[in-house]
Amino acid sequence: MLFWTYWLLAALLLALIARELWRASEWRMQLAAALVLLPLLLRVLLFK
């Protein structure tokens, strides 16, 4: 139960940050968002 709660949180965060990557105008913000996406993506895909 707790596992899937955390997974949902990770998935939600992933979606929010992907949206941020898409919307941000400054390249630094976009790069930062991209870097944060990576571990969340691996987590949501249950690779790591």
Binding site: L21, W27, Q30, A33, A34, L38, L42, L45, K48
Partner: protein, 374 residues
């Protein structure tokens, strides 16, 4: 702007695929080649069905037949960042020929821990053992169950049934989770299955293989439950007669969750555990790579030994993997011979396993060569 975002997104995806494939590769078991003396392979989930289909379900290799001789259980890879532990178990299962008694070998006791690495340790994904023709790669894993299988950690890990409190990460430490509980967490289920295995197979002697950093006090040692003390002290004396320094350590009665304590208390087995010195686990180590795992040579430890900061002798020769595996194999020989002397009616006998000296002379690769097997 959108184009840039798309480029970044593609970059992230590529990186995710690249690293994801790496992580996936670490979840694939390397092949093992059991000796012809193998009678059967069962899965650990036979002893606790909840493990079926999970990353912790692991092979239990059985050699020999129930013939009145002792049943012995070897646990390798309880902590998968302690390579001598599982390489010794691999070597045993690829070479042993049982003559009397039964040998059960679980080479990846915490198989989930073999599927990832501990964050911050910089351990290499694999290391190579040289063979007569080529090399054989082996994975390096973690001390802990993969968080993909048990997540998140509690703030405080409360051991069941004792109520002992340890740090949250230890909830994923198999050797703090014995005897395990039917309704416990994932790691506790692995412990429970091993405890059930010991009970149902009437295991007489458990040998749990470990390594520890050279500055750790319990090192180059055999730890024994009270019931196994006579057997372990005989083994230690025999090892010393052969020039191998081993200390005898009693299993602490008030430190719960350890295999020797709980298997000794909750079953009728003689529970023992062995430790060798592994610099790639040590807190004083320098550069951490595959070479360090195999050579066991670290210049920082040479310096540390000079100022008496290590609990084992350490010099420019290092403590290579073949020495550490050799010590485990030597301890295996002596524990079984001591058990057999003390319990002649339940004696066990085997061949095919090198002595410490033979292993040092011929190197590990000779005994781990897959081409030698049918």
């Amino acid at each position: 702007m959108k184009l840039r975002a798309a480029i970044f997104a593609v970059g992230v995806l590529s990186l995710a695929i690249y690293t994801g494939l790496g992580f996936r590769a670490s979840q694939v078991d390397e092949p093992l080649y059991p000796s012809p003396s193998l009678s059967k392979i069962v899965r650990l989930s036979e002893y606790d069905s909840r493990l079926r289909g999970t990353r912790a379900d692991t092979d239990v290799y059985e050699f020999g037949e129930p013939d009145g001789g002792a049943t012995i259980l070897v646990l390798g890879g309880t902590h998968c960042d302690e390579p001598a532990s599982y390489i010794a178990a691999y070597l045993l299962l690829e070479n042993i020929e049982m003559e009397r008694g039964r040998m059960l070998i679980v080479p990846r006791t915490n198989r989930s821990a073999m599927s990832h690495k501990t964050i911050g340790e910089a351990h290499p994904p694999t290391f190579d053992i040289p063979l007569p023709n080529g090399v054989r790669p082996f994975r390096m894993g973690s001390r802990y169950t993969n968080p993909l299988d048990q997540w998140p950690d509690p703030e405080v890990f409360v051991h069941s049934p004792s109520g002992q409190e340890l740090s949250g990460a230890d909830s994923r430490n198999l050797n703090r989770s014995y005897p395990g509980a039917a309704n416990g967490n994932f790691t506790g289920q692995i412990a429970f299955a091993i405890t059930e295995l010991v009970k149902q197979e009437h295991v007489d002697l458990v040998i749990d293989l470990h390594e520890a950093s050279p500055e750790y006090p319990v090192i180059n040692a055999i730890v024994a439950h009270e019931r196994a003390m006579d057997c372990a002290s005989m083994a230690v004396l025999d090892l010393q007669l052969e020039g191998l320094e081993f200390a005898l350590e009693p299993s602490p009665a008030n430190f719960r969750g350890l295999s020797h304590r709980e298997l000794g208390d909750h079953t009728l087995t003689h529970a023992t555990l062995m430790e060798s010195a592994n610099v790639s686990q040590g807190r004083l180590r320098g550069k951490t790579n595959a070479d360090l795992v195999v050579s066991g040579l670290d210049s920082m430890y040479v310096r540390a030994a000079k100022i008496n900061m290590t609990r084992v002798p350490y010099d420019e020769k290092g403590i290579p993997l073949k020495v550490r595996v050799g010590r485990h194999i030597a301890g295996f020989h002596k524990l079984i011979s001591a058990f057999s002397q003390l319990n002649p009616d339940r004696a066990a006998a085997f061949t095919g396993i090198p002595t410490y000296d033979e292993l040092q002379q011929h190197d590990l690769g000779i005994y781990l060569d897959p081409h030698d097997h049918p």
